[in-house]
Symmetry: C2
Subunit: 336 residues, 2 copies
């Protein structure tokens, strides 16, 4: 612990009472200007800073936000975290970061641990296992204790709290449009996130738009235990696709590489469009066209909503769901 200068110390040095010092520092009109000036002067000299712990204990507010990320190695989540951190810092909040590693148990444990450690609120994306299980009671427990939660990206519909999501369906539709407009005739879909809510949303979005063009959607659900590129190469060859939509960044990049395996030229023989505008997309060859979800903005928005609520700047208690618009970042894997 740093802090050695306390109110008490200042009080002694100034021959004042602790409460007078405390009030002076707050410019309480009860106190004479002369005293205020004396106190502030010394406080500045001594570099007095109130002990955060004591303030927290007293006020029951810690100015900290508990963050639970399913997978920090996923560039999307790393970006969201960046957004959260920036916005939190701007508002003088700190974030306590935990990583659920897609595990239901971990998520529950961290939720508890953080609540117990007095975070003022939560920002989280639901873990894969939790989504599969469909068990959300642990979130409701927290909400019952009046600790607000903001979910982002992977949300639980059954939990009544603030949410920040992406219009994945529309984004997926836009991806279809993009390929069709570039004269793709035969479009395939590859995904390694079938089990996630966002994976399903995107697939639905693609299917719906494809239908509007009178096309069926063929999808390859990647198996974890086998090389993605090989699986995709086979899929492309069998179906003679000239366009691929990858529902997640890994799948999309693997599709680009699969083309190389097959000796296809991109975008001449095959076009690819992916999701998530992360590092992978920027460093594939050719560079990948993607549906960007604006991860940083998602994080910043989530933080803003939470902090607004904490500071009661927000209107009463009605949870809102904010939708962040996607946009297509055109790069080398598509024509036009």
């Amino acid at each position: 612990m740093r802090q050695k200068v306390t109110l008490k110390q200042l009080a002694i040095e100034l021959d004042l009472s602790i409460s007078t010092v405390s009030k002076s520092l707050k410019n309480d009109p009860e106190i004479s200007q002369a005293t205020i000036d004396r106190v502030c002067k010394l406080a500045k000299e001594r570099k007095y800073k109130p002990n955060a712990l004591a303030v927290s204990l007293k006020s029951n507010k810690t100015r900290s936000i508990g963050v639970i990320i399913p997978d920090i190695l996923n560039n999307f989540f790393a970006k969201v975290l960046l957004g959260i951190e920036k916005e939190a810092n701007k508002n003088n909040y700190k974030i306590i970061t935990t990583i659920s590693n897609e595990s239901f148990e971990k998520e529950k444990e961290y939720l508890d641990m953080l609540a117990y450690n007095g975070v003022d609120g939560f920002i989280l994306a639901v873990s894969q296992e939790t989504q599969t299980k469909g068990e959300f009671e642990h979130f409701n427990e927290i909400l019952k204790d009046e600790i607000p939660i903001v979910m982002f990206d992977r949300v639980a519909d059954d939990v009544y709290c603030d949410k920040v999501i992406v219009d994945d369906k529309k984004g997926a539709g836009d991806a279809v449009d993009k390929l069709i407009q570039a004269d793709c005739e035969n479009i395939g879909v590859v995904s390694s996130i079938q089990k996630l809510s966002v994976g399903k949303e995107r697939l639905e979005g693609v299917e719906k738009r494809m239908k509007s063009y009178d096309k069926e959607t063929k999808i390859l659900k990647l198996k974890k235990n086998k090389d993605y590129e090989i699986q995709i190469a086979e899929f492309i060859k069998e179906n003679k696709f000239d366009g691929i939509i990858g529902l997640d960044e890994t799948a999309a990049v693997s599709a680009v590489n699969a083309a190389s395996i097959l000796g296809y030229k991109i975008p001449k023989d095959l076009m690819v469009i992916g999701f998530t505008n992360g590092v992978l997309s920027k460093h594939s060859y050719p560079k990948l066209t993607t549906v960007s979800q604006h991860a940083k903005k998602i994080g910043a928005t989530a933080a803003k909503i939470l902090i607004d609520k904490l500071e009661l700047r927000a209107e009463r208690y009605l949870p809102q769901t904010k939708v962040i618009k996607t946009s297509i970042v055109s790069r080398g894997t598509t024509k036009n």
Copy 2:
């Protein structure tokens, strides 16, 4: 704040004093077994948990670690963070994560903020700007206040604290060996991290080993404002390299893509070896051979050292520098 059940409440319900309850919960031998049992039973029923804030205020320990990461979008740092978080959690510590974004000011500000918020210790990698400036007084200030710091990867030699580093020089030498053994004649180096201590270390390592083979080292320092792949392609073409060492993951992957631009076949016409075994390396085409720094282990080790010190498990106060060994992960961009 969750916690509603307090010692006081239990005491009232059991018609005991607060201190008796407190002691019972600690199995104090002063207290009769009967009382202990009664207390523990009720505590369990009521799901009593001590208020972390109060304990912290009292003990001057928060069981939290301040972490400062220069760039969370860098897969290496994300992995380190994962390692830190896991180890911390195992020991019942939490981490407060901040991101300096390579800025000296931010770093200083966060250091202060975290110290002021009572973290028990720090784990951090020095920001690029700080390294360039060579100003490390802010770290010494913290150490003076007896808050331990563990630096990892990007460390400040002038600061007397624990460090976890990578044997970058040796790793770089190994990379040279690997290429030479695969019959490369003409090896070039590309880097986008010239300014970082690790970038210099790696370069030195390469140069030294090259010299032992009687070879000069040609290096391309990538300019931020121009496409890496183009810069590298020119570099390769001019010098007719048959081997490239990328001193960081981005540079290495860009080298692989540059080969594609030039129409070279990898590894037949050109071999590439990079640093940092991250997602980029796993998703390039062909997949990249890299010198792995075992980022997760670095993080875990740093956390272990810090926690040992905090719990006084470690022998007195002599700061140690732990070196994590690199190893080469062979993939498709090298032969053999």
